[in-house]
């Protein structure tokens, strides 16, 4: 029998626990991110009954338009990008709760309008709604918006929570990230700030924690005594598309490695946390980042390779090289490919090379982590006719075929003792028969629940930039042309230069 004290005994056993009434305020509400990801994610949460029982959304952007026009925009975005066909009754009810504030992000009148509508919604419902400010804008506006919210007193609220969600990129180097943290923390407390890295919202990434800490088989092997090397790959087969303006200022190192790949690495290599509370998990992740020794300026050439894609063939069609893409600065030295070798200087990982690579216009789209175990000391079965005997590899596939596979060596049927590698596969699709929800659905819901486990903390972001910064500095001072690789190829041959003796990249 449950006792009725200050607990709510009715929540026991429910998959969806209650969430406090919330008003979600999206800055940049007409932008690409809102259109493709945020609005469809909010709709899907509504469809599944996962939104708080009382929910409002306010969009804010520069376009002058009334509420109804914004609702029409939101409807079109949801119909176009939602992962499921929208239910008209739910969609209409959701759109009714959407309001719109036109205005520039540095215009105090916009914040006055925003506050007025938010207060009106509270009064109508007689509820102090939690407020979530989602910054889906260009990064140049993050400080401006936070400061303006503070000046208006919108950073705190009696009887309710106020949270700030910040999209990537969080800074463009260590100094700018520190400056942004200082600016945000001068208005909001760290517990109110949710820095998005949408990779952390992916089921397979969260499953890495379960795989490591829920299965006794791996932990005894998860150290320098048994692991030979780790390779983390984020390969895309597409080019830069319409993102030239952003990408040309960013490049693969900032766009993928500093955030997504280092996040994957921390989850792969962190010590078991005491609990899965936000700070316990993030404490362990930060320890890993602190244990990674950034390359010195002199070490960068031997540990990091960058390259740019040249014209080539993708999906059977001729495609231009990076420098011919629309919007790319002439003679740009922005890297579309980066490969690097890192090490984690702690008892568990000392001496284990960590290889990372990320690139665009590669031969295949795949994000995976390959953990290669050390070879057996002596292979008595290695007869002539055995095929490609390799050390065991545990492959964590993040996308597109979400799952885990373990390569083993098995005997080839027949009279002789010949062996070849085989795979044990776990695929999400075959074991759960379900589509993973979009990462943004999970992350938006977590911000409403106030669970920051899957968001980066200030020290985490700065520690990650601290690893990447010397590389950026070395590149800034470097002369010469970037190596090229043909679009549609596995990447530049120069990537092999950073591998230690005996290592090779996994084929894409």
């Amino acid at each position: 029998m449950a006792t009725v004290q200050q607990e709510n005994p009715l929540t026991e056993g429910l998959e969806r626990t209650p969430v406090h009434p919330t008003t979600l305020i999206i800055f940049g509400a007409t932008g690409d991110l809102a259109q493709r990801k945020l609005l469809p994610a909010v709709y899907n949460l509504a469809h599944e009954g996962a939104l708080p029982e009382r929910f409002n959304m306010i969009g804010i952007a520069r376009t002058e338009q009334p509420d109804d026009d914004y609702r029409a925009f939101a409807r079109e975005a949801i119909q176009k990008y939602s992962r499921r066909q929208p239910d008209e009754t739910v969609l209409s009810s959701l759109l009714e709760r959407m309001r719109y504030v036109p205005g520039s992000f540095d215009d105090s009148a916009a914040y006055e309008g925003l506050e007025s509508i938010a207060n009106e919604l509270d009064e109508e419902a007689d509820v102090a709604f939690n407020r979530i400010f989602y910054l889906a804008t260009a990064p140049g506006f993050f400080e401006t918006i936070a400061e303006a919210l503070g000046q208006r007193g919108l950073d705190r609220r009696e009887g309710a929570e106020v949270r700030l969600v910040v999209e990537k990129p969080f800074g463009h180097d260590l100094a700018s990230a520190q400056q942004l943290n200082r600016a945000l923390l001068s208005v909001f407390e760290e517990r109110q700030i949710y820095r998005i890295d949408h990779y952390l919202g992916k089921e397979t990434v969260q499953n890495m924690l379960v795989l490591r800490f829920g299965n006794g088989i791996f932990e005894p092997l998860w150290n320098r005594s048994y692991i030979d090397n780790v390779q983390i790959t984020a390969a895309e087969d597409i080019g830069i598309g319409t993102r030239a303006e952003y990408y040309d200022r960013s490049g693969a190192l900032r766009d993928i490695v500093q955030n997504h790949l280092l996040q994957l690495l921390t989850i792969l290599s962190m010590e078991p946390p005491v609990s899965f509370s936000a700070d316990e998990v993030r404490n362990e992740k930060v320890k890993v980042l602190h244990a990674i020794k950034p390359p010195t300026l002199e070490e960068v050439p031997e540990r990091v390779v960058r390259a740019q894609y040249a014209a080539g063939v993708a999906e059977g069609k001729d495609v231009p090289g990076y420098l011919e893409e629309q919007g790319v600065a002439p003679g740009s030295s922005t890297e579309t490919y980066v490969a690097l070798r890192l090490g984690i200087d702690n008892w568990r990982w000392a001496g284990v090379p960590i290889y990372m690579r990320a690139g665009k216009r590669l031969s295949r789209r795949v994000t995976e982590i390959a953990v290669t175990l050390k070879p057996v000391p002596h292979l008595a079965f290695h007869e002539s006719g055995s095929l490609g005997v390799q050390p065991n590899q545990l492959i964590l596939n993040v996308q597109p075929n979400e799952g885990v596979s373990l390569s083993l060596v098995a005997k080839i049927p027949g009279a002789r003792m010949r062996v070849r590698p085989v795979n044990m596969e776990f695929a999400y699709g075959t074991s759960f028969m379900s589509q993973s929800p979009e990462a943004y659905e999970r992350l938006i819901l977590d911000t409403m629940r106030g669970d920051a486990t899957l968001f980066a903390r200030d020290d985490e972001v700065e520690a990650a930039w601290g690893i990447v910064d010397p590389i950026l500095e070395a590149w800034q001072n470097a002369d010469g042309e970037l190596p090229q690789y043909a679009a549609g190829s596995p990447g530049p041959a120069e990537a092999d230069q950073i591998l230690l003796a005996g290592a090779e990249w996994r084929p894409l």
């Binding site: 449950a2 709510n8 026991e12 429910l14 599944e48 739910v90 695929a427 075959t430």
Partner: protein
């Protein structure tokens, strides 16, 4: 969608098993991107005349379908087993993605086979996977025969028009396997919303002040109503008394410490889908909260003790009966610790 089919008359479980293995091997040789699903075995026992309808229901459950289905169609007078096996893949056409293969075995059998159904289907279910038995047309002897083999009994306690008998059957199954009850799953959004209503700290003390609960239900879904009352009683520590039926309505009382809670089930004739139509919770100090079916979700209405009223819609799409069945299959892999206590309380109310 790739389909591979094998069929035989007057066959045996061993032959069916052998045919399935062969189909899987052949398909594996032909397509490297094909992977057999390994989620849940479902043994469905149906009247042969309604086999197509059940297959349609299973087709419509969407992504939560079983990975291996053994469909046992029962024909009066039949003494032999005829069977077919098929594999189908959900191929997207994208060669870089894995296509998931599902397996289905259809067996035509007679009523005499049901008492030893376990012996027939045992070779056909994949070991180490959860096995669900579902008999939507009765066939209780088949479900009982499966007690040693099935981990989960999937049922719909609303199928029996007599709520007392329905809950009694559920309780007996509960002793042998985990029960997933579609009538319970229809009530999930209602339970979530009632829990959410009382979740703000300021409102939690009101849980101790509940004085009256009225549950509105489709006339054939009284069981869903009793389960809702059973859930409230079990979670809030009420001691339920018996419900009395008068003119199609049930009413009764429960003890909540020193308070008495009035319980009422009201049938609502015009409801389209089975399950609940609404719920109203009143507290001793005059607060009332109501939820009712509405377009786009549930219409919520609240009256505070000082008479202030507010209304809103809690968003959520109807899952439809196909969605409920899909949810039932998904729930076979989870465990809800609140169902058993709720059923026991419901049983006390109907005793």
């Amino acid at each position: 969608m790739t389909v591979e089919v094998w069929a035989a008359e007057n066959t045996t479980p061993a032959d069916i098993d052998s045919a399935l293995r062969k189909l899987l091997e052949e398909q594996h040789v032909r397509g490297e991107g094909l992977a057999p699903a390994r989620v849940v075995n479902m043994v469905a026992v149906v009247d042969a005349a309604w086999r197509g309808e059940i297959l349609n229901r299973l087709e419509r459950v969407g992504r939560y379908h079983p990975s291996r289905t053994v469909l046992c169609a029962v024909e009066e007078g039949r003494t032999t087993l005829d069977a077919s096996a098929r594999l189908s893949a959900d191929g997207t056409g994208d060669p870089t993605l894995i296509s998931v293969v599902e397996e289905r075995v259809d067996i035509r059998m007679g009523p005499s086979h049901l008492k030893r159904l376990d012996a027939i289907v045992d070779p056909l279910i994949l070991p180490d996977l959860t096995t669900v038995v579902w008999a939507p047309h009765g066939h209780h002897e088949a479900v009982e025969a499966m007690h040693g083999l099935a981990d989960v009994v999937l049922l719909d306690s609303s199928d029996d028009p007599n709520p007392g008998r329905a809950i009694g059957w559920v309780c007996r199954q509960h002793d042998h396997a985990y029960v997933v009850d579609l009538a319970w799953l229809r009530g999930t959004p209602w339970r979530e919303r009632i829990a959410a209503t009382f979740d703000p700290e300021a409102w939690r003390p009101a849980l101790r002040q509940i004085s009256k609960v009225v549950v509105r239900h489709r006339p054939d879904s009284a069981v869903s109503g009793v389960l809702m009352l059973g859930w409230l009683a079990s979670r809030l520590g009420w001691v339920p008394g018996s419900l009395v039926e008068e003119g199609g309505r049930h009413h009764g009382r429960a003890k909540a410490g020193k308070l008495e809670v009035s319980l009422q089930l009201d049938p609502v004739p015009d409801l389209g889908a089975p399950g609940l139509g609404g719920i109203t919770v009143e507290t001793a100090d005059g607060m009332t909260v109501s939820l009712d079916r509405a377009q786009g979700g549930l219409a919520a209405h609240r009256r505070t003790r000082d008479g202030q009223q507010s209304s809103w819609v809690v968003l959520g799409a109807s899952r439809g009966e196909a969605g409920i069945l899909g949810e039932g299959i998904r729930q076979a892999l989870l465990r809800d610790p609140t169902y058993g206590p709720a059923v026991r309380c419901a049983g006390k109310m109907l005793s």
